[in-house]
Subunit: 359 residues, 2 copies
Amino acid sequence: MKRFLSIFFLLFSVVITCWAQRPPAISSPDLHADKTVTFRLYAPNAKKVSLSGEFLKANELMTKDNAGIWSVTVGPVKPDIYPYSFTVDSIQVADPNNTYVFANERFKRSIVDIPGNTPLLHALQNVPHGKVTYRNYKSGTLKTTRQLLVYTPPGFNPNGKTKYPVLYLIHGGSDTEETWTKVGRANLIADNLIAQKKAKPMIIVMPYGNVRPAPMPDFTQDVTKDIIPFIEANYPVLTDSKNRAVAGFSVGGGQTLNIGLTNTDKFAYVCSYAPYTATEEFQKNFTNWNPNAAALNKQLKLFTISVGTEDFLYEPVKQNIAMFKEKNINLETLIVPGGHTWMNCRLFLANSLQQLFKN
Amino acid sequence: MKRFLSIFFLLFSVVITCWAQRPPAISSPDLHADKTVTFRLYAPNAKKVSLSGEFLKANELMTKDNAGIWSVTVGPVKPDIYPYSFTVDSIQVADPNNTYVFANERFKRSIVDIPGNTPLLHALQNVPHGKVTYRNYKSGTLKTTRQLLVYTPPGFNPNGKTKYPVLYLIHGGSDTEETWTKVGRANLIADNLIAQKKAKPMIIVMPYGNVRPAPMPDFTQDVTKDIIPFIEANYPVLTDSKNRAVAGFSVGGGQTLNIGLTNTDKFAYVCSYAPYTATEEFQKNFTNWNPNAAALNKQLKLFTISVGTEDFLYEPVKQNIAMFKEKNINLETLIVPGGHTWMNCRLFLANSLQQLFKN
């Protein structure tokens, strides 16, 4: 029997050597106590490797050691969650050793979470946690079955007496239905704000907003004719407009304006983050728009537009804000530093969650 | 007003030009009716780009067009879901234009789904769908809060009278708690088999199995002392051993043997896929193992080991099978063609789901 086992483990060592032809497991990103971070990439044959990240002003060149591992240490970095990638001889790559990939259709970047000395609002804290459920619904509008994510708050009981308000939360242009949780941490921000009693317990529905090759108006219909009925048939929710909100970022911020402002009977809360509005649907809805401002202002409990001053959409967003104000629409604005980033998205969402369903 | 809008849209076109500095949106993978597939990558400065994929015998060189887009058309490819990646001047990259990333901690590859002419068992079909919920649980064993995924079958009611059997399903060594859904499609395979009445409605719990830097035995404790009690406190489940199963692939297949065979009072179903067993825990459990075979065989309703003949673990798996048989343990084996792949994993899971909780 002992000989049997010796052969057995000998065989294994051969097998493991074979398996080990994978690149070595290295620690990246490697977070240090002083908020500096070391990034590493195994690329023995590369000629030039650099790090780009939304915590950097410019790309940082990395240097190679004798084992073929490139590295650079940056920071201290302000605590937040940031996208980053490596550029290896001119090709952009995600960090192979980092599980957390930015959920997106057009690029593959990684995300690094620099924790605060006291936990940040998007951190997993020692509070009751809600759940995020992946579901399929049939879209009659788009004639397909699509996936959406549903956040239900701590203590949620699908058959209980409590009925919840609902926020429909839309991602950016090449993002996916997972981006608001995987990058935006919408679930953890909600958990923490609910625990602090700063946000009302609510359901957050995160649909997939990209509609291709059809034009975008189909998504407005998908939300109003397919997604809302699906949610209302399957969850204990309040169904009047003042218990329904729509919010979104970038292309989703533009969709938010289209969906919300043309359906004020359905949505009393419209929160648009750095909206991208150069779409046919927006042009059709708002070019010769002649709203009854008094009626609209009465229906809307909250209409906000948020943007960063370094956002590449800052100028058109300002034009939109001016346009809505010119029409005498009540509008709150949140103008902060920063660009077209998910760091700002999380900030905007945290702000909205504290305002929703309160009047 | 019209002038205002003209300026407005002029501004936008500037903005869009700026945004467009991203790589062009290209279609990849591009599936054709004859089951050939075109893969494309924008890499104008690369010198050599090739495609590697588990549907290929050897890497395929790609060729560059004048726009800097590399491409290759391969196949026809046998319908299935396959991992693939590009090698750009010696660095491996996921396909930036493909949303579907192989959930893994050590590499970033993409997955391509070649549909069958009649829908495959892992395809989204027109049947009732279960849900996949992402939850946090506190692990007293590991002293942290960890995420797990829970599949609940169609018609599941957390407060209903129906109580469900539970399968605990563990990923491979550098995979994550998402790999069994994102790559393994465990949820859709279950939906389809339940619709066909070939599998019993069940709950499938997919924990995160990697325990670092602690040794692996902690995960056995995490499952038995933390995860099972969490599930039983939060879901209407049957709690006797013949309504509890454990299954897993590769490192998870080894964990399955450790967890299942040392806890036959808890698990009557143990399904191990291409198990990796060169671990201290396995050595400790099975080196001088002297089981009461009759008692064990009575407790175990089903014990299976599945593996592909081209699996790099085929030889040690065969040795393990021989070892268990030598101990007179009742054991079903499923030996199929193919390697250490998720194509085989889906097959093994589909086979197990039809056997679980039936006797």
